[in-house]
């Protein structure tokens, strides 16, 4: 037995887990689904809602259409109703569902009728289902209604059955992802009965309806369709359930379909068909468009965009490939993506040439696709209408001036030839003209080339071929030559212009690749958020010629409008809300999109791998073409990636700093609490003893002395802590003034006179020591800490030496002792904060020397320590100092 067969595919498992998780967070969508109007969807929805309400759920009506049906209206009375919001549209007020009010109200369940509805212009979203998605995102459950004819993938079929074009359609994806679907089913007879009873429409309208839409045949077909959809769904739910419960089902899984789409209307049908097929097969589906050298005319381009949008609405992943060889591109892609079935439309045959070419396309696809199945879908009859319309050869997109200049050049050359006619003869002229036509092809489009080819043939015939000034040709060989001339001119011209187009396409691609490379390179060296913003904006200006504004999120995950980005794009309150929406939903919005299109700017989300970084606003006059859009997406994804890295780096830095300050705090706490307690204990003990006991005079003096010593120690600690905090805050700005080094040393030794008592202090200052510009307070502290340290740690020897001298703009101060010196392995750490030598005596915080280092560095100087040759340590401070120009002083 093959065990591996029963083990669920990890990818599928993950996907099902993800789906489960997603669903639990979002609100649930329940669709009341029917074959057509009048089956009682709204009524059933209200009844169900009423039952929920009686169970204690908070149910409200967001939008409902009673169509003046009494039972429905009565039923609706029992619910809280969110008032509709009015929009001004072309001088009339239109009323739409108030999305924000619903979200603000936050009920548990909201009823929203007619999911496929198209909103009035000016609403946030163009379609109601988008409103509903937003409601669901806010964790609110939605009950809604849908008729079968509104489903995107069925709209064609419905149009075929009923002859009515359906305009309000609903993407299949929404329907498929609904959490629950309840079908409201009536037999056709029951429905017709209801209609004629006037329960659906008013009597006059009912009559009209029965005669047009509600014919029994139509109803039966629609009913079958609705029931089949629900049945399919049940089937699919079973699959999903089994997958959810980790059961390997009997279904044929691992099927991957690929549908090859073109810029024709037929492709839309192909997409819908492929969607249905994938649905029933339980396979996944992607679509691909291969951009070749064929230049799309505006109509084709529009249709292509429509096809791509449709694919999105059908929930099909769309891929865009640029290649000169369509077959190779499709097969390569299919192999890479493990596609099992390729679906193509049957090529339309325009003429002999295309028949050969397209026949070749199908043959080659079948030949190269190997073990991949190829489905070819028949084309519909509609395409014959287009047959004549499309007979003309490649598109003529060149402008008038091109035609004009091309003709002018041909005529000019012909004139020159004409004047030389007697020298060169008429046959050579054909070569000259041929040369001109071929050369022109490098500069002009296909149309002008066709014109110049025809024109030059006519000119040659009329003015040169004997008999001149007639179109008549005498000799057979001249006739042959004329025909050959025309064909060669035509072919070379058309071929050259085609090569040019291809080159142009390749050049554009190269430029884009290059632009992306440049961007990556510039971003890689950019540092800081501002740097990235600047590069991003410059490059967007450079490569897209667009003004842009970048809004990034702040630490609290809100868009920061007061960002450092100083552009001339000024966002209104309305624009900001679009930006907010884009950021929250990580979907583009604003101008040229389905969401809030009335805005002046288009907003794209800056999506990183793990988070949304912000939004970029651009002001574009025209919609991006597919190629441009793809390039743009790649561009901003690079930028987003960089922003994300910068953002993460900042977070890491903050975490590091936090960690460091946490460590500092702990050490401080441990060390300081000890250092504080000892003197406080001494003071408390000694003063308590003085207060309560009668001591002889000698003892009293001694206790008082202890108190005094302890207070001095406390004072020193406070000094050090204050100095440390000054250093930590980085707010030390030296106050420099002229000082006599003698004064400095005298002051320090005076303050330390008690500690220095047992020592012999030797101060060495040369007679020519100038005055130096220093910060007395900082230097006093530095010297104090060094000498104090020496008195504490070098107490075994009674000799201390302090030396000062000035040399070449540098004042040097040295403190030397004859103590034990420092252990070699520890000497490099002694200036570290809280560092204390191993086994050092009690007392001390390890702050003193770190303050010395900090202060000296604040004065732009250095401090070093060495062990002296004959024992002891020597601290050397070197500080760059000014000396006064004595000569200038008036004596």
């Amino acid at each position: 037995m093959d065990i591996s067969d029963n083990r669920p595919d990890p990818d599928e498992l993950l996907a099902s887990l993800k789906l489960e998780e997603e669903r639990s967070k979002r609100g649930k969508l329940k669709i009341f689904f029917g074959m057509c109007a009048g089956v009682g969807k709204t009524y059933t929805m209200l009844q169900t809602a009423l039952a929920e309400k009686s169970k204690g759920f908070d149910v409200i009506i967001g939008y409902i259409e009673t169509h003046n049906r009494k039972e429905t209206a009565d039923l609706a009375e029992g619910f809280e109703l969110i008032p509709r919001k009015s929009y001004q549209y072309k001088s009339t007020a239109v009323y739409e569902m108030d999305l924000d009010a619903i979200i603000a109200r936050k009920p548990q369940i909201v009823l929203v009728d007619e999911l496929a509805h198209t909103n009035a212009p000016g609403s946030r979203h163009t379609k109601r289902f988008q409103d509903v998605l937003e409601i669901l995102d806010n964790g609110i459950n939605v009950y809604t209604t849908v008729n079968v004819q509104h489903l995107e993938s069925r709209s064609d079929t419905v149009a075929q059955i009923t002859g009515i074009i359906i305009r309000e359609t609903l993407p299949d994806e929404i329907f498929e992802n609904a959490d629950e679907i309840e079908i409201i089913d009536l037999t056709p007879d029951e429905l017709l009965q209801r209609l004629s009873d006037g329960k659906v429409y008013t009597p006059e309208r009912s009559k009209e309806a029965i005669e047009s839409f509600f014919r029994k045949g139509n109803i039966t077909a629609l009913r079958e369709m609705a029931l089949r959809i629900v049945a399919d769904r049940v089937d699919k739910q079973l699959h999903e359930y089994m997958q959810l419960k980790r059961i390997r089902g009997p279904w044929k899984s691992g099927l991957h379909l690929l549908v090859a789409v073109s810029y024709t209307q037929q492709s839309a049908k192909l997409l819908r068909w492929a969607k249905n097929l994938s649905y029933t097969m339980g396979a996944d589906l992607q679509a691909v468009y291969v951009e070749t050298t064929h230049k799309l005319d505006p109509k084709e381009s529009e249709q292509l965009n429509k096809n791509i949008t449709l694919a999105g609405q059908l929930g099909i992943k769309f891929r865009f490939i640029t290649s000169t060889d369509m077959v190779k591109a499709i097969v390569d892609f299919a192999q890479k993506e493990n596609i099992t079935h390729i679906i193509i439309g049957k090529p339309r045959v325009r003429n002999l040439l295309t028949l050969l070419r397209l026949g070749n396309f199908v043959n080659r696809l079948i030949r190269y696709s190997g073990n991949i199945d190829v489905y070819i879908l028949g084309s519909d009859t509609k395409s014959t209408d287009k047959f004549k319309e499309k007979v003309s050869l490649p598109s003529f997109t060149s402008n008038i001036s091109q035609y004009f200049s091309a003709s002018l050049i041909v005529i000019l050359i012909a004139l020159i030839c004409f004047s030389l006619k007697s020298f060169i003869g008429y046959q050579v002229v054909s070569f000259a003209l041929l040369f001109v036509v071929s050369t022109l092809a490098f500069f002009f489009g296909t149309g002008p080339i066709l014109l110049s080819a025809t024109l030059s043939a006519l000119i040659w015939d009329f003015f040169f071929i004997p008999p001149p000034y007639t179109l008549h040709v005498d000799k057979t060989e001249d006739m042959l030559m004329l025909i050959m001339f025309f064909i060669i001119a035509l072919l070379s011209g058309v071929l050259t212009s085609r090569v040019r187009r291809q080159e142009k396409k390749i050049r554009i691609r190269e430029e884009r690749t290059n632009a992306l490379y440049q961007l990556t390179r510039e971003l890689s060296i950019a540092t800081g958020i501002e740097g990235v913003i600047n590069i991003a904006k410059n490059d967007i200006k450079k490569y897209f010629n667009l003004k842009s504004r970048i809004l990034l999120k702040n630490d609290t995950n809100q868009l920061d409008y007061v960002s450092k980005d100083d552009t001339n794009i000024i966002l209104s309150r309305n624009d900001m809300s679009v930006a907010e929406w884009t950021f929250q939903h990580s979907t583009k919005a604003g101008k040229h999109t389905d969401t809030l299109p009335s805005c002046d700017y288009t907003f794209y989300p800056l999506k990183g791998n793990q988070m949304n970084l912000g939004v970029i606003a651009i002001q574009q006059a025209n919609v991006f073409t597919q190629g441009e859009e793809q390039f743009w997406e790649a561009f901003i994804s690079q930028i987003s990636g960089k922003f994300e890295r910068e953002y993460l780096r900042n977070i890491a830095k903050q975490a590091y700093l936090l960690n460091e300050s946490d460590k500092l705090y702990k050490t401080l706490f441990n060390s300081i609490s000890h250092e504080l307690r000892i003197p406080v204990a001494t003071i408390m003990g000694a003063s308590d003893s003085l207060l309560t006991l009668q001591h002889p005079e000698g003892i009293r003096r001694e206790l008082s002395h202890e108190i005094f010593k302890a207070s001095k120690r406390l004072n020193r600690l406070i000094e050090n802590l204050l100095n440390m905090s000054r250093l930590e805050s980085g707010r030390i700005s030296p106050r420099l003034d002229w000082y006599d080094i003698h004064d400095l040393i005298n002051k320090v030794t005076e303050n330390l006179q008690d500690e220095l008592k047992p020592f012999h202090l030797h101060v060495v200052i040369p007679d020519n020591m100038p005055f130096v510009k220093i910060d007395f307070g900082l230097m006093e502290q530095v010297l104090y800490n060094l000498i104090y340290n020496a008195t504490q740690y070098a107490s075994n020897s009674m000799s201390l030496r302090v030396k000062a001298f000035y040399e070449n703009g540098i004042t040097t101060l040295q403190v030397m002792d004859r103590g034990p010196g420092f252990p070699k392995k520890e000497i490099s750490f002694i200036f570290n904060k809280f560092y204390r030598l191993e086994g050092s005596q009690a007392g001390g915080t390890g702050l003193g020397l770190s303050i010395v280092k900090g202060f000296v560095e604040a004065l732009k100087g250095t401090v070093t320590v060495e062990n002296r040759k004959n024992g002891g340590a020597i601290f050397t401070i070197k500080i760059p100092t000014e000396t006064p120009e004595i000569d200038k002083i008036i004596l």
Binding site: D737, L744, K747, F771, I889, I890
Partner: protein, 228 residues
């Protein structure tokens, strides 16, 4: 001295007030206490104390502005009490008419010495000695001469004017600005290096040990005081 001098302590810290009160009473001064600027000015006006100890960090008013208000009518010495690292405030206070300063924490011995010097200076005021003697150093203002161990010192006129200002105010802190203004004039207020040079020259001439001066004492970052 028949009547004991009265000292007003203006400080918002009750412990400091207690400590100063005990110390001063033990040294036979009478004390008055005030815990705020307002109260301090009121008490000073009512009793006209011989000396005021003024804390710069009062809760209700800036110490320097209290000092300025006092100085509108009060002529006796004011000694400033302040915390460390407030040299600028100290200089401002001294320039606004304070006679001396002490930084907290201070030693009581030091405080008493300062108080006595300040009081003596006021008692001596008006006596206008033409000659002063500090140990082995004598200065004769009328004769424009100074002697060390009886030997006449060669002094430039700038040196002499600096020395005489310091000696006339012996015991009192004179700020750099004050000295520069008095000796060199208003255009030299930033030229502290002049002071350093002249002080060093003077020390060589009048001090027993110029490296450890006892007559011209440096008050770091603030100024000089002529010792006794």
């Amino acid at each position: 001295m028949i009547t004991a001098d009265t000292i007003l302590i203006i400080d918002d810290e009750v412990q400091i007030r207690r400590l100063l009160e005990i110390t001063l009473n033990l040294n036979s001064f009478k004390t008055l206490l005030a815990s705020s600027a307002k109260e301090g000015i009121a008490v000073a006006a009512s009793y006209n104390p011989s000396l005021i100890l003024l804390d710069l960090g009062l809760p209700d008013d800036d110490g320097v502005s209290v000092l300025k208000k006092l100085r509108e009518w009060y002529t006796n010495p004011v000694i400033i009490l302040s915390v460390r690292n407030s040299e600028e405030d100290i200089i401002e206070a001294l320039d606004s008419g304070a006679n001396d300063y002490l930084t907290k924490p201070f030693r009581t011995g030091e405080l008493l010495a300062r108080i006595r010097t300040a009081l003596r200076l006021t008692h001596d005021l008006g006596k206008s000695d033409s000659q002063l003697t500090f140990g082995s150093f004598t200065i004769d203002f009328a004769g424009h001469t100074a002697r060390k161990n009886g030997i006449l010192l060669k002094l430039t006129s700038t040196e002499f004017s600096l020395l005489s200002i310091l000696a006339k105010n012996s015991g009192r802190v004179l700020t750099h600005q004050y000295l520069l203004k008095e000796v060199w004039g208003h255009g030299y207020l930033d030229q502290t290096q002049y002071l350093r040079v002249f002080v060093a020259q003077l020390r060589k001439k009048i001090e027993d040990d110029p490296a450890h001066p006892s007559l011209i004492i440096t008050e770091p970052a603030i100024g000089y005081r002529f010792g006794e």
